[in-house]
Assembly symmetry: C2
């Protein structure tokens, strides 16, 4: 039996974080070690808060720090990973942040087990074969329609067959302004490109506001409209889906457990369920959702806006589902996210993205590359240090 000896959380950040919707400006890198074995993972967003949830003092029996359910546990099999996840969910039930924190640990445990057994994670997940995914370049809308046009043109020039534009001012100004942006994206991309639009929850729960954009979305033949509403607004999603016709609804990135994703699949009228392995509870739960989506005829798509480590993690869960073709591929990553790993996932000669066919996640962290971005953090309670940035190792 191999026991988990250590869990190291590394807070990484660009020197300056801008007030834009770019999720690659910081990262929480996770290292788990058990005996001679090591695995790497990543939690999505708010590094300091996830660090606090790893090490905080216990509030009561169902509100323990995440560390308490992981350190010292056996890690010899896939079952052990699930057992650890279940234990975190029970012991940290009243600690809201715990699902995000667990996510990075779960990813690292899959990486560790894959490296140890010399198998890629997708094989450990039960897939016999993995299939290339068609990446969509995932970018923010330009500040002006013309900027969006140029972005779209660049993406098409790079050989991408699909692109997603999101956030920026979309949905915040007028229907006409939004239409200009949509037209610019379509023109830049060319008539055959797959155009995806991400509203970034801008209409909250306002179905009419979202509905007023459907005409324009249909005109530019958008394949999907993503997150018109806040995650979990099931009836609003469902209502909009009645009118959206060929524009499929996409959503689910905010889900932080299986139940929430299940409801989005069952009740929201989605065509696409988007799951972030760094939030939902890791690869374990992401795979549960992929299986469920496949059974229910909803297409699974990864949500990823950070490093290639997170990208590999997010692709594993549906690597073997051939007809779930499309995948998110952030192409405007900050230097930090590029520097984090020695190897990178890039489209092949056919423009397809392939999940690494090497042990674990197949991504090697670049400790030298990371070093300049490492943020020193320290937490003290009652004068005792309960967290300090661990040495990179």
């Amino acid at each position: 039996m191999t026991k988990i000896d250590s869990i190291d959380f590394y807070y990484l950040s660009m020197p300056e974080v801008l007030d834009i919707g770019d999720g690659s400006q910081d990262a929480l890198l996770v290292r788990v070690a058990a005996g001679d074995h090591v695995g790497w993972g990543e939690c999505e967003a708010a590094p300091l808060v996830s660090i606090a949830s790893l090490v905080c003092p216990m509030s009561h029996s169902a509100c323990k720090p995440v560390m308490a359910s992981v350190l010292g546990q056996s890690i010899d099999s896939v079952d052990d990973i699930r057992k650890i996840g279940n234990s975190v969910r029970a012991n940290s039930m009243d600690l809201l942040q715990a699902d995000h924190t667990l996510s990075g640990i779960d990813i690292a445990l899959w990486d560790l087990l894959g490296r140890r057994l010399s198998e890629p994670v997708w094989k450990l997940l039960g897939y016999e074969k993995c299939f290339g995914k068609m990446p969509y370049a995932s970018v923010l809308f330009g500040d002006t329609a013309n900027e969006t046009f140029l972005k779209a043109q660049t993406i098409a020039g790079q050989g991408f067959r699909a692109a997603k534009f999101g956030w920026g001012k979309f949905g915040l100004t007028s229907v006409d302004d939004d239409q200009d942006q949509l037209n610019a994206a379509r023109q830049g991309l060319g008539k055959d490109g797959i155009l995806l639009v991400d509203a970034g929850t801008v209409w909250n729960t306002d179905v009419d506001a979202a509905r007023s954009r459907l005409k324009g979305l249909k005109e530019v033949r958008a394949t999907w409209l993503e997150e018109p509403f806040v995650s979990g607004a099931l009836s609003e999603y469902h209502s909009l889906s009645m009118d959206s016709g060929p524009v499929g609804l996409a959503g689910g990135e905010g889900c932080h457990n299986f139940q929430m994703a299940k409801h989005m699949i069952d009740l929201a009228g989605l065509k696409y369920i988007q799951i972030d392995a760094g939030r939902i509870g890791g690869i374990t739960i992401a795979k549960d959702v992929a299986d469920y989506a496949a059974r229910k005829g909803v297409t699974y798509v990864n949500h990823t806006f950070t490093s290639n480590l997170a990208l590999s993690a997010s692709l594993q869960s549906y690597a073997g589902l051939e007809s779930h073709l499309i995948c998110e591929f952030p192409t405007e990553l900050k230097l930090l996210a590029m520097a984090m790993t020695k190897n990178h996932i890039v489209p092949d000669e056919n423009g397809m993205l392939n999940v690494p066919d090497s042990p674990g996640l197949g991504i090697e962290p670049d400790l030298q590359g990371i070093a300049p971005y490492l943020v020193e953090a320290e937490i003290r309670v009652r004068g005792k240090q309960i967290y300090t940035t661990p040495p990179l190792r």
Copy 2:
């Protein structure tokens, strides 16, 4: 216009926190000041994590520290409170802990506004009259059936007409053991007492395990079975509700936004929706849920396992709903939770609990009483202190 000048988070804790389901072992007290006005609130559980989410560096435009959406905002009206909540939910969308953190701030803002306008919060919420609630003594199951019997007898002797037993080993051993516990509770309480049972999510999503306890629950005439499953297990709740007959299902304490509570009301077959104002986003969202529950014929109940400040906050949202009669009243509070406030909410001569009829929440924090429980905490990022325990003031 009065602007919010400061938000102080005070981490309080018993000297020793035990590994039991008692949520009164620590607390996060919130003080908000605007000009000459002050209000007090409380966040539920994991103080250090909520502190981190208040002050952490921004990750991106939708993952800002909670502080960023509160400090400097106007607080002159009820609308201002809602505006601040909406802003936190948008700006901290990807910061999972934010809903719990906002909850304590929202509660403090209602207290502040009520004190300033010399009105109790329930009046500001639009209720013209408030009604006494029938408190149920909320305790943990004893380690043995006999201990449970003695607890029940004590509760009945104190004049309570209702009692809830929860957690402990219930659901973890055999159906027979659970039956012994249930029988002991009923015997101790007497035949007329209202008996409530809290399974504390022990069966996760296992409907059969929960169903096997229904016979016993019916035999002892339990009024409700609370949290047989994890929060959000809508179909499992609904399935169990088909067989539970006179034993109503209760749940919802895990909900951290309006949507989640709405789904529990609409889709889980609940008779009772239990909301913790310290988790759902504060009094604002708790009131939204109370209104919705009333419309849908589901009974609203507070979830409270901490101080009398939290208790007052949690009662305000349904203070004016006469037929939503029952309320949770933790009666085994740790010394900390008693010491936190100068005044306390106690049953009147008829055994009823009355929401304070004084400005704000009507509860005065006891700064001297709190002092011994204050936990010194400090967070440093890049060598700079971003949080230290503020002086009690």
